[in-house]
């Protein structure tokens, strides 16, 4: 037995030698240090941002991994109908939201229950979706993929479809086995790798080059007087929730919206804790000027409507702040009218400031653009 094993391993060693000799003797037209090693990609955070939440050590970025993630992000192959990709509802020109759609629009023209949130600065999210049900970026993609009214596909079937690429006669030839091999060193296509590649791509989607960012980095002329004024009012009246450089405290709050027709209870659906009724995640305001409509169900189409809701100052109309036990105390201060007191000039200044968070470089950056496999409607 031992002798047989010995001979076998000797033969195996010989074989390995033969293979490696053969390999080194073949001519490689493109001399590379190593064929199967993906190229590491350095990820750096903007200096004034907090440390990322996502653990890059478990999924280090590579050029090939990010590229694969980009193809997966845009490719409709992730949906049952093969025509809805992530990029369908997360469109770059709208800071990766669904331009013109209050509720998400999925397969067979089905309509979801919530507004597609922006895919940006995901590295810093402590939770995902309006109800924060998911805590790990790697676990985000299956939610829309397997949602019956979004992409209505099974991840297991996506994997099978990816394995069968390139598909003869397809308009866009994508060879996923080759891309997985480039990204991970072998052509094995697994769900873990698929999610890792998508996370790698989403990790690169950092928005930090708005005019506001130039201002923060020391260019005082990047903002006008009105915008600076707006910034200071914002800090007084909005930043307790839309806090920090990501403009969210990542908490769940009830901002006094009247419950919608389906009586969406938000965070409560995750925790079943009565204290969480009607609470939704405080969204980042980066690129807010590009991500209309607003709120978890897209009920407001303009920033003016949003501020009117908070100001609760519509003459003659009833209270715009819906009172319930979980209403955020910041909107319900004792001895004053519910909401946030804002003059009309203050509202205009805040909106002017919010528009300085629009990041034109981010929405035009070719690194994040559809490589030609996407569909949009």
């Amino acid at each position: 037995m031992g002798r047989v094993t010995g001979i076998m391993s000797f033969l195996a060693a010989l074989l390995a030698l033969a293979v490696s000799c053969k390999k080194s003797s073949t001519d490689d037209p493109e001399p590379k240090p190593s064929d199967n090693t993906p190229t590491p990609l350095q990820w750096t955070k903007p200096s004034y941002f907090p440390d990322p939440v996502y653990d890059l050590s478990k999924n280090p970025l590579t050029v090939e991994g990010v590229e694969l993630g980009k193809f997966l992000f845009y490719d409709g192959i992730l949906s049952r109908t093969d025509n809805i990709g992530c990029g369908t509802c997360h469109q770059q020109q709208a800071a990766f939201t669904h331009h013109g759609h209050d509720l998400s629009h999925g397969v067979d023209d089905k309509i979801g229950t919530r507004n597609a949130p922006s895919v940006q600065n995901m590295a810093w999210n402590t939770s995902f979706f309006w109800d924060g049900g998911v805590h790990d970026l790697d676990m985000v993609p299956p939610v829309p993929i397997q949602n019956k009214v979004e992409m209505d596909e099974r991840v297991s079937n996506v994997i099978e479809k990816l394995k069968k690429t390139p598909v003869a006669g397809a308009a866009k030839q994508v060879d996923y086995p080759k891309m997985f091999k480039a990204a991970f060193g072998s052509d094995s296509i697994t769900a873990d790798r698929m999610m890792q590649a998508l996370s790698q791509f989403m990790m690169t989607m950092v928005s930090a080059t708005s005019r506001y960012d130039y201002f923060v980095r020391g260019d005082a002329s990047a903002l006008t007087a009105q915008e600076k004024d707006g910034l200071s009012i914002f800090k007084q009246k909005c930043a307790s929730c839309h806090a920090g450089e990501l403009f969210t405290d990542q908490k769940f709050r009830n901002n006094g919206l009247t419950p919608n027709r389906i009586n969406d209870q938000g965070r409560y659906a995750i925790t079943l804790n009565a204290d969480d009724r009607l609470k939704f995640k405080v969204p980042s305001l980066r690129n807010a000027g590009l991500t209309a409509p607003y709120m978890h169900d897209g009920r407001f189409t303009t920033l003016e409507q949003v501020l009117d809701h908070y100001a609760n100052d519509k003459p003659g109309s009833k209270d715009s702040i819906y009172v319930s036990p979980t209403l955020d105390p910041l909107l319900n201060a004792a001895g004053q009218k519910r909401g946030i007191s804002l003059t009309s000039a203050e509202k205009q200044s805040i909106i002017a400031f919010l528009r300085t968070l629009n990041d034109d470089d981010f929405i035009k950056d070719k690194r994040f653009s559809d490589p030609g496999v996407g569909t949009a409607f």
Partner: protein, 276 residues
């Protein structure tokens, strides 16, 4: 927030750890004696009252007088323990102790447990669902593969995992009923909830303890006992709290799922043991 996360996780970890320690089989006293092991089979048979369960074709009636068919019945069995006649408990190794019973797949209903210490066994304990420790384990870990792989295989194909609020659906019962209030006349019961990752929430984990009636399951190096466990799904409706399809035709992650979980916790019984 973070502190709360840790305290919850550690509480679960501690509880599960204690459980495992206290239940693991004590070392044989005499280690010159070779430890002998054998195989035991657990056969799950889903029934409706005194009838065999037939998917789609047969209409049944529950205690509320509502007719219903069953189009899908899946549930997880995990954390299996066997009690020997001397009172010692044999815990099936954790990684070999997760199963997804599917009525539409007869192979899935026969669980073969290998490497069971020989002896005469008098009872069994198992969990319906997936324990909290395994539920919060990173999905890329080996312990979350196989039948627990949320992205491939039966768990994915049968949609036994909630992506939006990560956790396994412990039991899924679907079918049609004239009493259903849905647009398509179907009812949907997806029961899960392992207790919560970052804060305490729904816990529908059920541990079932059954004694073997009048008979022992003998495990030797050559004798394989087959324990026939019946699951009477009529008890899901006619359990401690009577359930009405008309009152609620769709139950998923909600407080009312506790009633269904309490009901199905009582649906199992050991019918017989065959010695082969």
């Amino acid at each position: 927030m973070m502190k709360r996360t840790f305290s919850w996780l550690s509480a679960w970890a501690l509880a599960s750890g204690l459980l495992m320690v206290s239940c693991s089989f004590p070392d044989e006293k005499d280690d010159t004696d070779p430890i002998e092991t054998g195989t035991i089979q657990l056969q799950f048979d889903n029934i409706v009252g005194n009838q065999d369960l037939q998917l789609d074709s047969t209409r049944y009636v529950n205690a509320a007088g509502e007719d219903f068919t069953v189009s899908k019945l899946n549930y997880y069995i995990s954390n299996i323990k066997l009690t020997r006649i001397d009172g010692r408990v044999f815990t099936v190794p954790q990684d070999s102790s997760y199963f997804l019973i599917r009525e539409a797949n007869s192979g899935s209903q026969k669980l073969t447990i290998r490497n069971v210490l020989t002896g005469d066994y008098t009872g069994i304990e198992f969990m319906v669902g997936i324990d909290s420790l395994r539920s919060v384990m990173d999905p890329s870990q080996p312990g979350r593969k196989g039948i627990l792989d949320k992205d491939t295989g039966p768990t994915n194909e049968e949609a036994m995992y909630w992506d939006w609020n990560p956790g396994y659906i412990f039991l899924k019962l679907e079918g049609a009923s004239d009493s259903a209030t849905t647009a398509n006349g179907k009812y949907y019961y997806h029961i899960g909830g392992f207790g919560g990752r970052t804060e305490k929430t729904l816990n529908n984990l059920k541990t079932i303890k059954l004694n073997f009636p009048g008979q022992k399951a003998i495990v030797t190096t050559s004798i394989v006992s087959n324990v026939l466990i019946q699951a009477d799904i009529l008890k899901i409706f006619n359990g401690p709290t009577q359930w009405s399809i008309k009152k609620s035709s769709g139950v998923m992650f909600s407080d009312s799922s506790k009633i269904i979980a309490d009901n199905y916790a009582g649906m199992f019984n050991v019918k017989e043991i065959k010695i082969n």
